[in-house]
Amino acid sequence: MSTFLAEIQGWLAFLDRLPVLQQLLPVGLLLLGLLRLRRLPRRGRWSRLLDLPLVVQLLLGQVLIALVLLALHQRVGLVLLLGQFSLARLLLRLAERPLLARWLPPDSLQLLSTRLLRPLFLLAVMLAGIDALGSLQDLAGLPLGVWFGGAIRLGDLFSVLVVLYLLLVGLHLPAAGVSLLVQRGLGISEGSRRALDQILQYVIFSLGVIWAMGRLGFNQTGVLAIAGGLSVGLGFGIKEVFSNIVSGLWLLIEGSVRPGEVLMHEGEACEVRRLGPRATTLWRGGDNAEVVVPNQSFFTTATTTYTRSDRMRRCSLELKVAQSWNPEQVVALLEDLAADHPAVLTAPAPKALLVEFGSERYGYKLSFSIADPLTAGSVTADLRLAICRRFGDLGMDPPA
């Protein structure tokens, strides 16, 4: 670390040089001036310039400074380098707003920008800056010590961290692409596709970690010793976390809980949105809430799912009708009403049954099937409403 700091301190010596100051000072003053001007109220014909994005103003100013320095036969390399950074930032901005915004939904664009594009931009600027001030190759060769039997150099560690980060944030699109291809090729279900997507991400990231350890020259015996120590720690301290991770992996492999599936959670049908390493995110349609459930709970308790083999759900509603009405007519009426609803499947057909004899009313049960399990509540409510309306039209007592 001290060597690294000394290296950075060495770059400051460049500030002793007149040509360096002649380039940096105007750019620094330009930036400060622009920041100050942008706070002032807009007046006059030049105010339009102040409405331009800061990066555009900076780029124009840097070009102007470079032209003035060239006219004075001074050096401009640093100004041009800073201008390249501004240009790259402008291109990134253009790529984000008009281009990618056309094809990507806002939340995906936000994720892509904040997790991949902007970090990559910052990384490129940082590396270009270091390369300009010193030697990137020499800095990469700085020794950091011996870890797990491997002599670690700054460059190795940095490249490994960058690759792992890129794998972590950049794997979604390729994994989704591969799983889509597999779905089209083999005809697997949507749930299986999502499971494959997740498993691919885990597998590739795990391979990345193994590659990283090899690249850093970690001694396998040392890593195993640490893993052994960790397993003791896992047994006592973080066993719940570990248990959730293992449960999540197992659920994915088994396919019992997969993204896109609909299952019952605390009496309500929920859709699995994401199966994370520690917890599963469920979406509850009733109140548009996201429920985060530890993976372990699916692993240790029974789960009712409507989408294991198909997405059809058989629903039912029970009602009591005055015994004065002919049960056969009531049964036919209920089946007709269910069949008329657009969300109710024709096969298996709706079925009404007389299930109870009461002193004043008979009990009936109407069963019907729907394609989307999450709409069970709304379809049932629609049918109840239709029954009330039809009973009213026929002059019958409202059902109980």
């Binding site: 000394a6 301190q9 400051l12 010596a13 460049f14 007149l18 380039q23 620094g28 010193g134 030697s135």
Partner: protein, 407 residues
């Protein structure tokens, strides 16, 4: 940014920094990357830091192939190095392009010049001025495995005999790998103008006919050498060194700057000797002088410090330490005696230096690396083709003569 700079400066304390760029000899850059701290002039840096404890030396390595481009880019930004350590011909080329400062305007040069052999001073003197201050010499030697080669070959016939007896030897078509044999077969007078571009010096013993005959003799011998089954034609010095380290080769020509690396890997198995001579006399080892050249962007205090460091490199004590600690270079200061009696390696270096001074007269003059950079690949390609039998020695001779500059 300036505020951050000031903050860092405040936290880390006010220290001066000198930016030094080492330019390893072409094709030997892997040696320098191997261990920047083991370079021969480590004693110089230590002594300099002892004299200037508050000074930070920031040393970086730039390959010769990318040097010009790097310097041009850094110069346009005002971020060029304060001092460069590089081969004299490269320094000469950079001076002609205005990428380093001439030294003859500096008092340090006038103080140091008497310490140098006039021939050495000539090697850094160009029409544009003095390109750098010579620090030490590097030469081509023979490196061998003592366990396999009990007595190093003293002549080209011995070398052939060594290969015939089943000991694998390695050569390469680059300046380090084979050009030394040109002198042993009398072809050096024809080769030097081809390489350096300096006009041929006409003497009674040297004529175009003699050049043709000598070149033919050399190329014929190279072809005969390549026909030996135990002779390995390597792609360059790195392959030769790795071959010797691994035991695949038992004898190779080597640059003295690779001795430290070889010693670390081979230990006492490493033997060092002068290169073998031939019917026309001793060999013509390739040698280069490493010089310290001034960067063109330094502030006045940085320039002063750079000159102090360059001047210190010729200090007799520092020169002796550089020589004795590395055992792979020879001092540039002519008043520093080399203890040849106590070190066989230094004796071999001294002999190679003598052969270089006496036999490579034209190469010891000042020349620009630009010409060598242009002709070297052509010559290497031609030697390669002759050794592999793609062209005959006669055809090779004519092709080489076509590369000669007009007299």
């Amino acid at each position: 940014m300036l505020a951050l700079a000031a903050l860092l400066q405040g936290c880390l304390g006010p220290r001066q920094t000198l930016h030094v760029v080492i330019v390893p000899t072409s094709r030997l850059e892997w040696l320098q990357r191997d261990g920047k701290d083991r370079i021969p002039w480590k004693p110089l840096l230590q002594e300099y830091q002892r004299l200037h404890p508050g000074l930070q030396l920031q040393v970086s390595v730039v390959d010769e192939a990318h040097l010009e481009e790097t310097l041009r880019r850094d110069r346009s930004r005002g971020l060029g190095p304060d001092l460069l350590v590089l081969r004299a011909p490269v320094a000469n080329a950079l001076l002609q392009q205005g990428l380093v400062e001439r030294l003859n305007d500096q008092r340090a040069w006038h103080r140091s010049q008497p310490l140098l052999e006039p021939a050495l001073a000539d090697r850094v003197t160009t029409a544009a001025g003095v390109s750098g201050l010579p620090a030490y010499n590097i030469l081509t030697l023979a490196c061998f495995n003592r366990q396999v080669v009990l007595r190093p070959p003293a002549s080209l016939d011995d070398l052939m005999g060594l290969a015939a007896s089943g000991r694998p030897i390695g050569v390469a078509v680059d300046p380090i790998g084979i050009w030394w044999s040109a002198g042993a077969l009398g072809a050096q007078n024809a080769m030097v103008p081809i390489l350096t571009g300096n006009p041929r010096v006409a003497t009674a013993s040297a004529s175009p006919t003699a050049d043709r005959a000598a070149l033919l003799a050399w190329l014929t011998w190279l072809r005969q050498l390549a026909l030996q089954s135990r002779v390995d034609i390597a792609s360059g010095p790195r392959e030769l060194v790795e071959g010797l380290e691994s035991g695949r080769l038992s004898w190779i020509p080597c640059y003295s700057s690779s001795l430290g690396h070889l010693e670390r890997s081979m230990g006492k198995r490493l033997g060092v000797a002068p290169l073998p001579g031939g019917p026309a006399g001793p060999p013509t080892p390739f040698g280069t002088v490493m010089v310290m050249a001034l960067g063109s962007d330094s502030s006045p205090p940085q320039r002063r410090l750079a000159l102090q460091l360059a001047e210190l490199s010729l200090d007799p004590l520092v020169q002796r330490e550089i020589t004795l600690e590395s055992l792979m270079v020879l001092p540039a200061n002519r008043f520093v005696s080399v203890p040849v009696a106590s070190s066989g390696r230094l004796a071999a270096l001294e002999q190679a230096q003598r052969q270089f001074d006496e036999r490579s007269k034209l190469l010891t003059a000042s020349f620009s690396a630009d010409r060598l950079r242009r002709t070297q690949p052509l010559v290497e390609d031609l030697l390669w083709k002759v050794m592999l039998g793609v062209v005959t020695p006669q055809q090779g001779t004519e092709a080489l003569l076509r590369l000669s500059p007009p007299s």
